[in-house]
């Protein structure tokens, strides 16, 4: 059983690292500078025009902020026709929410990204850039632009990124340096060995 578990674990790690990490394929370039609005009661729906939907996008990230966010629905339309849609269940926490989408085989420019949610009591912050003048007056509940990013699987696997990830792990810590990754590998190998020893004790 232990051998089977260890082999399964190794295969799981190999398979996971063989996948491609999601990358931001397209962003509308809006900076997340301010919370230009806050919704705490009722249904909120808004659309942002002029977005570009890349081919194969598997998710869209919107700069909405909440502690226990409501269900968010996204619909991508072009000329009134629904191209793709997705939904994120309630309960998310972050300063942005990622909503899975059904990927399209082709890209589409000039699309409208529409999102809606039902806020009750707990506020949902709208983060991005504030609109000025007439544009703001035309949309009093939504006087700004959210950051919208479309995600899709990257071209390289985690294996191909291993050396750069290892390099990044060496930055920004106490005693930064190349030693951190080998140290982590040795320490986790020791954890695995000790847990295997415990597992062997079970059979006795």
């Amino acid at each position: 059983m232990l051998a089977l578990s260890l082999v399964s674990l190794a295969l799981g790690v190999v398979a996971t690292l063989g996948q491609s990490p999601p990358v931001a394929a397209r962003s509308n370039g809006v900076q997340t500078e301010v919370e230009f609005g806050s919704v705490s009661d009722g249904r909120f729906a808004a659309c942002q025009a002029g977005e570009a939907l890349p081919a194969g996008a598997t998710a869209v990230r919107l700069s909405l902020d909440s502690v226990l966010g409501p269900r968010v629905t996204v619909r991508i339309r072009k000329d009134g026709r629904l191209l793709t849609s997705g939904q994120r269940q309630a309960g998310w926490t972050a300063a942005d929410v990622t909503v899975p989408l059904t990927p399209l085989a082709h890209a589409a420019a000039g699309v409208q990204t529409c999102f809606s949610f039902l806020a009750r009591d707990e506020s949902v912050g709208l983060i991005g850039q504030r609109l000025g003048g007439a544009a703001a007056a035309a949309a009093p509940r939504d006087p700004g632009l959210l950051k919208v990013e479309f995600l899709r699987p990257g071209r390289g696997s985690w294996w191909s990124l291993a050396s750069s990830v290892a390099g990044h792990l060496g930055f920004g810590h106490a005693w930064s340096g190349d030693w951190i990754v080998p140290f982590l590998l040795v320490a986790m190998a020791a954890v695995l060995a000790l847990m295997s020893w415990l597992a062997l004790r079970l059979a006795r």
Binding site: T16, P70, A90, T93, A94, H168, A174, R201
Partner: protein, 509 residues
């Protein structure tokens, strides 16, 4: 099956006149080797987490660091009235780390390039030239009791010649040691609570040692690291007293641990009702002549706990803020909202809504989405998650383990009935903590639906989780039990490993 729930004969008592040091050595020598291995694994795992998680990317770590710095510089705890910024060196370091930009925004990685690393090095060099000046502010940490922070003064002072990051990492390593204590006491609790099956202790202790949420939290600067250890120790001492009988020495030990818990983090208050029920049950079991002696023992324990806590409060070591005194905490909790509304909210905070009541969490199945999913994987500032399907897949092993645990309980119902008082004490300890967390969350409601909706707040109950895992393995029966035990241990190892990979992908990918 029932053997796992039944108490075996008591071990022989120590020979009279044994010296205290010798007794301690003998007690340590009786701790099984597997327990020490569990402690070592938990410690190593938390050390790994301490290097994987970027500085200040654990909930409220910025505030906890500020508390220790304030304590180191002034000898006094911070004031909850002070709403200023962090000290200059901490602020400079956080700016160079882009702490606030990275926090809550999964698309923003940690320090990512040689240029950013150089900028950080420059900032750290500048920060070393600044004489740290206390600001008196420590955010949400200001209301917490001082014991954990006082212990963290040791690594803080050890790193006083270094940078903020050096001190922070040394402080994280002390927390990692506390993870080892947590696993050790969890193992010992399972040994006392389920003494009939040695291998069940290994499964319980081993699984907890590599629980990723324990590693993540205990790999950071937070008083919860100490709270988990002292809660596990409390469960252990309770189980030991239930199994071997309440003596003055054991009562005093429980009293000391309760005092340490109360001086570690206020959440420990949630365990008190259960501890009190346990004490009543244990005293009630005794024959009348012994009862008076044990009542005195109970009074000794209570007096010890009260004296330690009172001394800390009287010396001003505990901040007198809105939540800084237990009486203020109770008053604050009592004045917000109606009792019925509060009770309904707390119920829904953990369990499915009762039909006919107002839905306080529309669209959210709290048991699953907040507590289960949060345990499966929610790291960083609650901004680092697995892909959605992982949480669905995790339901399968969790469901199997729950079913096996129920089977073991059903099969051992007779033995369970004989220990109903003990079970009641543990369940009250758990319920007390849940009510405390739910009640605290209710103070922010409805503006914030679940201010304390985080699985980490339930980790003081790790000992009970370990017992449930041990029972589940036992529920698999003699033939399959060991195989299921190995699978459980490896499942938790995999959970830990993939959690670390997910955090690495989020911050460094």
């Amino acid at each position: 099956m029932s053997s796992v729930l039944e108490h075996p004969p008591r071990p022989a008592t120590h020979p009279r006149g044994a010296r205290r040091g010798g007794r301690l050595r003998a007690a340590l020598a009786r701790v099984p080797r597997e327990a020490w291995v569990c402690a070592l694994v938990a410690c190593l795992n938390a050390v790994c987490w301490s290097f994987i998680t970027p500085p200040f990317q654990v909930p409220d770590e910025t505030d906890h660091y500020a508390y220790v710095e304030q304590l180191a510089l002034t000898g006094e705890p911070p004031s909850s009235q002070a709403h200023g910024r962090y000290s200059a060196d901490q602020t400079l370091t956080m700016e160079a780390l882009h702490t606030n930009r990275v926090r809550l925004q999964p698309e923003d990685p940690a320090v990512f390039s040689p240029a950013e690393a150089s900028e950080l090095r420059r900032a750290l060099a500048v920060s070393r030239t600044i004489a740290p000046r206390p600001t008196g502010a420590a955010g949400v940490a200001a209301a917490e009791p001082p014991l954990y922070y006082a212990l963290e003064l040791i690594p803080y002072e050890l790193g006083s010649g270094g940078t903020v990051l050096d001190r922070l990492e040394l402080m994280r390593l002390l927390s990692a040691l506390m993870a080892g204590l947590t696993a050790l006491f969890v193992f010992l609790f399972v040994r006392e609570a389920l003494p009939g099956a040695r291998w069940a202790w290994i499964v319980g202790g081993g699984a907890i040692a590599v629980t990723p949420l324990l590693g993540f939290m205990s790999g950071a600067v937070t008083p919860e690291a100490l709270l988990y250890a002292v809660s596990a120790a409390t469960f252990y001492l309770m189980a030991r007293a239930f199994r071997r009988g309440l003596t003055p020495r054991r009562a005093a030990a429980i009293g000391v641990v309760v005092a340490i818990g109360l001086l570690s983090k206020l959440n420990f208050v949630g365990l008190l009702p259960g501890i009190a029920i346990g004490a009543i049950v244990m005293v009630g079991r005794l024959p009348a002549p012994s009862r008076a002696r044990l009542m005195r023992a109970g009074a000794v324990g209570l007096a010890l706990a009260a004296a330690l806590v009172a001394a800390a409060y009287a010396s001003g070591a505990v901040s007198h803020s809105a939540f800084g005194t237990p009486e203020a905490a109770v008053l604050s909790l009592a004045r917000h909202g109606s009792p019925l509304g509060r009770a309904d909210y707390i119920w829904q905070f953990f369990l499915p809504r009762i039909p006919g009541t107002v839905d306080d969490f529309p669209g959210i199945f709290t048991t699953r989405q907040i507590w289960f999913d949060g345990f499966v994987g929610l790291y960083g500032w609650l901004d680092t998650t697995f892909p959605g399907w992982v949480y669905d897949v995790a339901l399968l092993p969790a469901g199997i383990l729950a079913a096996l645990c129920l089977r073991a309980l059903a099969t051992g119902a007779g033995a369970l009935r004989a220990r109903i008082g003990e079970l009641l004490a543990y369940l009250t300890m758990a319920a007390g903590l849940l009510i405390l967390v739910g009640s605290a969350s209710y103070t922010g409601f409805p503006q914030i639906g679940g201010a304390y909706a985080q699985s980490r707040y339930l980790l003081p109950l790790l000992a009970l989780m370990a017992a449930a895992l041990a029972l589940a393995v036992r529920g698999a029966g003699r033939r399959w039990g060991p195989a299921v035990g190995v699978a459980v241990l490896m499942l938790f190892v995999a959970h830990d490993l993939f959690s670390q990979l997910q955090v690495i992908a989020r911050y460094y990918g």
